[in-house]
Structure formats: structure tokens, C-alpha cells
């Protein structure tokens, strides 16, 4: 399918339009469970995001990047296998959740506690990556390692349109092409890198077409359409798993909220533009799709909201408890496998200066 969507010919994949109409010929055969999982994780992501904003505004959480408007991303996680590896940037809460990262980890990270990055052992989700674009090379390296070890594992890396301007993105794409790494590049082109519009990131018409220069396939898709994301990612992941090499997916979406809670987007973009994208909301259109299938009812929604609210409250409570238990030695103990004499000395000094005895 991807080969029929050459970005240089202006092709663009959409399966579910903004009104919730599906293009039957492209519709993936997803089970009821999977369809509900997409919807439910999108809703959970939006609610968890909103809760985080309230926590941040009331001083209970630090700066963080909202997902708002980009929840269709959850379909990426659904298209991957459990043994695959995911390398996020910092706006992929939906993908992390659908792949099993516990919600309290998200809150913990932005409550200033590294425990948030301690992914459970059986989940191959990397911690969030703040230096923009630098994670792309990691995913390629892990994919090269999987290939060397003959594991049938694929890696997926997420980054934004801003990330594609970084040198590491170029090096990652180049290495991936040269070594035919089983890696999928998932670009969330949300059209703004803080205040810098997509047009200042690249003179290329699409980001997807950059793949062609590196010798592999690229596709531009509707990033507010969970079905398009699922279809494209599924094919790209299986293409990689079969040893056919990498794919670049440009997922065209829009950041409805600010860059982070420290940003004021009214300085650089119009209400009209935001409204245009709100009409293309991923949750709204997927709800209509489920409704048409008889999978969405008012009662289902009410139960879902109740369930998510409880899950979020529990996660926040758990996170706040763990964050409050942060100890001075947490800074020192993970620097090396074995603490060095100098670190030991510095930790003892810190305890003394705090008037504490070492635990």
C-alpha cells in the first residue's frame, strides 16, 4: 500500500475523514477489542493530559508537553508487537500508555522524579527524550542490534517536525538506509516547533519525501486519523520485520495546546487556525466511526469516563507518594553500577550537611 502513496506525487493517506466516514477499501480489519482500545486510550490520554495541566497550574507538577489534539498516535502502539521497542520524544503519552507504560510514570517524570523513567522490565518503552531529534539514532542502533542478534524485533521512533532539522535525524535516516535497519520513523508533524512553523524547518514540500533521498520509502498520512496511522504503521513495521528496511511516516497533525506549559501560543498563531484543526479532532471522528458500528453508546462513554477518572486519580496519588519519598541518595546510586569512592564521599557530605545520618 505505501508504495502507492508517493509523497513526491502529493499522495496523502486518509482512511477516516473528519466527519467519521471511512474509505472502505482502506479500512483495516480490527477486532472490537482493538477498536475500543484505540478509543479508550485516546480518551484516557486526553483526560490524563488535562489532569496534568491542572496539576501543573496548581504547582503540583512541573513543566510538561501536552498531547492535546495528537491522540490518534495511540494507533502506532497498536500496530507494534510487545517485543518491539519504542523510542519516544516527549509528546507520546498515548503511544506509551497503549504499549503498557503505567500512567503514574508519566506524572512522576514531570513531578521531577526519575522514577518516572523506570519502565517496567517487560515493556520496551524508552524514557522520554528531551534533546530534540537525538533519539532517532538510538532507535536505528537498537534496530541494527536486533538485526545482528537475528531477533524479529522492530524499533519505532517518534519525533516532531522540528526534530527533522537536527543533524541526528539525517544521520539516523542515513544509517537506517545503509544498514537496512528494521526501524520505523514516525514523525508527528504538528506544524509548530514552539513558535517556528513547519515552513521554516524545511524547504521540502513534505517531510515524507526525505525518505526517498536516503533510499527507502516514506508516506504522508492524516495524523488525526487513527486508522490511517494504524494502517501505515502496521505495514511499515511488518516491512521492517521482513528485512525490507526502514520507513518514514509523516503524520500530519496539529498541536492544539501550547508547546509546553511554559509557552503562550497566542503570540504566534491565530484562533482561526486552531479552530480549523479542532474540527479535525481525532477523538470526535473516531467516536462517530464507533457509533456507526454500534460500539459507542452514551452508557459506554459514561462508564469509560468514570473508569479513566478513577485510573487517573489512582495514578496521581501513587505518583505523589513516590515523588514525596525522594531521597538524597537517589541522585547518586544510579550513576554507575557500583558507586565510586568520590560519589560515596559526596553523598556522605550531603547527608552531613543536611544534618542526617546516612540511611
Amino acid at each position: 500500500m505505501i508504495e502507492h502513496f508517493n509523497p513526491l506525487e502529493g499522495k496523502f493517506l486518509q482512511v477516516l475523514d473528519k466527519g467519521g466516514h471511512v474509505y472502505k477499501i482502506l479500512e483495516p480489519k480490527l477486532s472490537t477489542n482493538d477498536l475500543k482500545k484505540i478509543y479508550e486510550t485516546m480518551v484516557l490520554t486526553r483526560m490524563a493530559d488535562d489532569k496534568a495541566l491542572k496539576l501543573q497550574r496548581s504547582g503540583r507538577m512541573g513543566t510538561f508537553a501536552q498531547v492535546l489534539g495528537q491522540e490518534a498516535q495511540v494507533a502506532v502502539g497498536l500496530a507494534m508487537k510487545k517485543e518491539d521497542w519504542f523510542f519516544p520524544s516527549f509528546r507520546e503519552l498515548g503511544i506509551l500508555l497503549v504499549r503498557g507504560s503505567p500512567l503514574e510514570k508519566f506524572y512522576l517524570t514531570f513531578m521531577g522524579c526519575e522514577e518516572g523513567n523506570r519502565t517496567p522490565k517487560d515493556i520496551n518503552n524508552f524514557p522520554v527524550c528531551v534533546p530534540v531529534g537525538s533519539q532517532t539514532v538510538h532507535a536505528v542502533g537498537a534496530a541494527m542490534a536486533a538485526k545482528i542478534k537475528r531477533d524479529k524485533v522492530v524499533t519505532v521512533v517518534a519525533f516532531g517536525d522540528g526534530g527533522t532539522s537536527e543533524g541526528d535525524f539525517h544521520e539516523a535516516m542515513n544509517f537506517a538506509g545503509v544498514f537496512k535497519a528494521p526501524c520505523v520513523f514516525f514523525c508527528q508533524n504538528n506544524q509548530w516547533a514552539i513558535s517556528t512553523p513547519r515552513s521554516i524547518q524545511t524547504a521540502a514540500k513534505t517531510i515524507a519525501q526525505k525518505a526517498i533521498a536516503y533510499g527507502f520509502q516514506g508516506i504522508q498520512i492524516d495524523g488525526n486519523d487513527p486508522l490511517a496511522i494504524y494502517v501505515a504503521t502496521k505495514e511499515a513495521v511488518e516491512h521492517a520485520r521482513q528485512g525490507k528496511g526502514p520507513t518514514l511516516i509523516e503524520s500530519l497533525t496539529y498541536r492544539i495546546g501550547p508547546h509546553t506549559t511554559a509557552d503562550d501560543p497566542t503570540l504566534y498563531r491565530t484562533e482561526k487556525e486552531v479552530k480549523y484543526w479542532q474540527e479535525r479532532d481525532p477523538i470526535k471522528r473516531f467516536k462517530i466511526y464507533l457509533q456507526k458500528k454500534g460500539l459507542w453508546t452514551k452508557k459506554y462513554e459514561d462508564n469509560l469516563i468514570k473508569k479513566c477518572t478513577k485510573q487517573i486519580e489512582d495514578a496521581v496519588a501513587k505518583a505523589e507518594k513516590i515523588a514525596a519519598a525522594t531521597k538524597p541518595e537517589d541522585m547518586f546510586r544510579y550513576m554507575y553500577e557500583k558507586m565510586t569512592p568520590v560519589l560515596q564521599e559526596q553523598l556522605e557530605y550531603l547527608h552531613e550537611s543536611l544534618g542526617e545520618k546516612e540511611a
Binding site: W85, E114, E115, N117, R118, T119, K121, F126, P127, P131, S134, T136, V137, H138, A139, V140, G141, A142, A143, M144, A145, A146, I148, K149, T155, G167, D168, E171, A172, N174, F175, V178, F179, Y334, M335, Y336, E337, T340, P341, V342, L343
Partner: protein, 324 residues
Amino acid sequence: MPTLNIVEAINLALHQEMARDKRVIVLGEDVGHEGGVFRVTTGLQKKFGEKRVMDTPLAESGIVGTSFGMAVYGLRPVAEIQFDGFVYPAFDQIISHVARIRNRSRGRFTCPLVIRAPFCGGIRALEHHSESMEALYAHIPGMKVVIPATPYDAKGLLISAIRDPDPVIFFEPKRLYRAIKEDVPEKEYTIPIGKAKIVQEGNDITLIAWGAMVRECQRAAEQMQNKASCEIIDLRTMSPMDTETIVTSVQKTGHCVIVHEAPRSGGLGGEIIARINEKAILNLKAPIERVTGFDTTFPYYQNENNYLPNSSRIIQAIDKVMMF
């Protein structure tokens, strides 16, 4: 027992570690077919194949960044950067990811990666090919920085670095690559990272150096043998630094000269002096002297010998300290 130079000793270590552990892979520019510009990786690709010994595109951040990905996935990559002056494009990967993943993921992901690079001056090389920037890396929490000065140490330290659970920068003094030969045991052995070596025992003054400067200290000590009994410490590991060996020696001698090629200001000499001050200032009989490179850009080779510390500058420093 074979008599090997540093290039051969490192090559032997790589062969043995790759044979012992199939997770060990080698990658970098020209390391495969050609065996590297200094021929350190000669024969590896022929023996272990293109999958485990990879010629990469010319991209240092890509080399270190993909090595990081391989290491967290479970391999033990040994990445070569062709010259110390070319590590900088990879600096972000080293400081932002390699050094901190264990800490930021609370040990869930770790990065057992070795980055090898030839460093230091003295071979009349092109610009950017002669630098000694070990202090930059020793300043990064989470990194280990190792510099061997002899073939025996090069083999044992590299094997330790490859087996280390944490990331190691391994700087090879290119000036000594083929300058010294010594007996190097055929069988595998390790030298602990974080431990300095007393190259020569003495009672009057402690000389501290690493890399090619150890040999300069030995030359100076030999010329001074009738005037002062010099104890020479080869630091071997810049980070984590072996404070104990330094302090114990200075407590005995009461005099100290530190020698490094790196620029003086912000160089590791200052850090060593601080540690001596913290633990042994009352044992000092004279201020500590530093013999170092200058706070200049490393010069083109017409001025190289004026830049590099040598035995005569070390002797002058010893005289100054002993006369105090």
C-alpha cells in the same frame, strides 16, 4: 610471551574479546576492510565478518548514537572515532545520553559502550589531530575515562573497558602507538579501571602523568636520579580518579609535579591539586607545580615541540619544587 606495541596489544584485546563474547562488535569509519587509519582493527572484519565489524558512514554522532542504541539493546559495541578532534559532533550523544541513561532510567537501561579514539600530539599531524581534551570527558558524570601508556596496560585496560557495565572513553596516545614494545601476555587479563599505577617508586617527589607524558616523566626521573628520588604515578583512569594512590604518595614525598599535554586552565592538574589540598595539604613541603600544554589552540607542527611538555620542562619543575 609476544613483544607487542600498543597498536598490536589493542588489536589482540579486540580479537580476544570478540571471540569470547559475541555481543562485542566494532564499528567506525574505515575500521573494517582497511583496519582503521592506524590499523588498530586490522584483521577483525576478516575474522568476525561485516556484521560484527562495520564500516559506517562518516558521521560521528551517528556512530556514537547508534552504538548507544546497540548497547541499550544488549550488545557491547566498541566504537572508534578516528581522531580525538573529531569526537565533538558526538559530544551531545555522549553527554546527553551515553553518560546518563543508567541514572535517568534508574538502571532499567544501561550503556556498556566503549568509545576508542587516538589522542594527544607529537606526530606532526594535521590540525584537529593532536588534541588532549580528556578533561572535557572526565567532567561528565556517568562516564569513565581511561588512558593507557604502555602496551601491557592498553590490552588489560581495554578488556576491562569492554567488560565494564558503564560507558568508557578510551583515549589511545597515538604518539606511543608504535613507539614502545614490551612483553604482553597472550592470555586475557584485566587491569582494574579506577586504579592508578606506581610506575616507579621514590621518596622525594611525586610525578603524576598519563598517556605519552608518563614516558617524559620517566626520562626526567632518570636524569634527576642523583638529585631526587622520583615516584611516578601513571593515573591510567581520569574518571573515576584514584585519589588514594595520589594522596598516599604525596603524604610520603611531600612534593608533587603534575604533567599533562592538555591546556593548563581547567585541565585535570587543577583537580588533582584540589584533591591533594583536601587530603594532604599539611604533608606538602612545597607548592605543587604543573607542567602542561598552554591555553592556546594546539599549534601546527612547526610549534609542536614548543607546546608539548618534555623532560627538560619537567626537570625545571622538579628543581623548582625541591628548592622551595
